[in-house]
Symmetry: C2
Subunit: 243 residues, 2 copies
DNA sequence: CGATCAGTTGAGAATGGTCAAATTCGGTGG
DNA sequence: CCACCGAATTTGACCATTCTCAACTGATCG
């Protein structure tokens, strides 16, 4: 019916088959277009009454700051991702979100979500599923930080990003474009920027993966997957669950 | 109306005001009582078609195993907690859940959830909120692992557990009963069991907190909070958001 | 009364951090 | 086109947190 569906529609449709009415309700999520410049803080930790967004172009990252000024990045958001869903369910946002690149997004008001749930229960299930999928990724990051070496962490992270980008047509098993700095990598992997640099050099010298000038190139995809013990199960990419 | 409400009802009611109809639908979650012995694996990673549970008594833990046999515990579940929600939304469970103590729980079938969403949209919002709250805790653990020292991690973890147990009447600012071993602590904090032991000793010698024989005693609650930079915002304990 | 499991302690090794100083790179203004 | 600037990256030297291995204690249980 729709040849040109939005990234969000495409994503939710992989979980539940949405009716035309559902699609209509979902289309209301896409009315308020917003643009942001790199570095702009879209959602601030502690802020109340914030909106959510659906990302259509560009990269963002969600993070928390510690009192001593250190930063832990929780996840990156790429086109098609929901952003700040927790911020509208909680009274105050428990994390910040910042634009990494120039961003195009649609603003979703709390009332949009609550309305949608009343009109379209199947949509509620789909949104819950999307939220669960995000949580699954956070859980995988947790395992990454808790039980893997710096090198395994890096390999796993670059592979995960590749898998996610491939799902939305922005990457393949050769590699992908990546606007992140080594500081971003340090803050998401719980390492120092210096060590990130050394790990990247080692992976490059081993002929596994090259991270350079905004590009990630998988030099040996299979061996990298083995090193990281990477298993895509948690990304749950299969077809619709509900008829 | 209900003097003796279930832990789950009490929890969801703090987020949305539930109608009698909602409460009736929710009561259907509480029909299939199950008991489990310590060590029983209630949900197995990779398992398909699993159920979820609502915990009424005892402790459980959700975890992932790595190929090399290492374990990362993602979270502990205490009475009132939902357990395995992701397992029913995903086709295959992406994590395992094990009983830490003897457990009493109610089994929730996937159809219960989906029915509930159709009948009671407000309930859907409440469940989404509960899921988001769980995710907020996982995110806090992530920050813990990525950016805090072993000692801060331990302090933060023991405080969080205390705050959660206090919410359901199983602890106060003096301390609480805790059935975990030092191996559990090691696996949740991403440390070795040996180092956990040393950290506990140091915290005890500093007069901050005592972990011993199944009891956690806060010897100096205020100083412990300072050390951990503990902020309860992410537990979002305030009253109902929706009228 | 062994057996087993949780906890405890010490010694040495390793992974990753800190500090400090180059070097490269992509602009930007002259 | 070139000099220059700031940000990102790279490298070395040294340090500290945490791990590993190994041994030992103490409690609990059949």
């Amino acid at each position: 019916m729709l040849n040109e569906s939005s990234p969000l529609t495409r994503k939710l449709s992989t979980f539940v088959a949405l009716s035309d009415a559902d699609l209509g309700t979902l289309a209301r999520f896409d009315r308020r277009r917003r643009n942001f410049l790199p570095g702009h803080e879209m959602i601030h930790e502690g802020q109340t009454g914030s909106s959510a967004f659906v990302l259509s172009k560009g990269w963002a990252c969600s993070y928390k700051l510690l009192p001593d000024g250190e930063r832990q990045i929780v996840d990156f958001q790429i086109p098609g991702d929901f952003l700040g869903l927790r911020s509208i369910l909680f009274r105050t946002s428990d994390h910040s979100i910042e634009a990494v690149t120039r961003i195009e997004a649609s603003e979703v008001l709390p009332s949009d979500i609550l309305d949608a749930f009343t009109r379209a229960p199947r949509l509620a299930t789909a949104v819950l599923w999307a939220a669960s999928r995000d949580e699954a990724m956070v859980v995988e990051h947790l395992v990454n930080l808790g039980r893997r070496s710096a090198e395994e962490r890096m390999a796993h992270f670059l592979l995960e990003l590749g898998a996610r980008l491939t799902l939305v047509g922005l990457g393949d098993r050769k590699g992908y474009d990546c606007p992140l700095t080594q500081y971003h990598l340090a803050d998401v992997l719980g390492l120092s920027a210096v060590h990130v640099n050394r790990v990247l050099r080692h992976l490059r010298e081993e002929g596994l993966v090259t991270f350079r000038q905004g590009h990630v190139i998988f030099d040996d995809f299979a061996r990298l997957k083995t090193l990281a013990a990477f298993d895509t199960a948690y990304l749950d990419q299969e077809g619709p669950l509900l008829p």
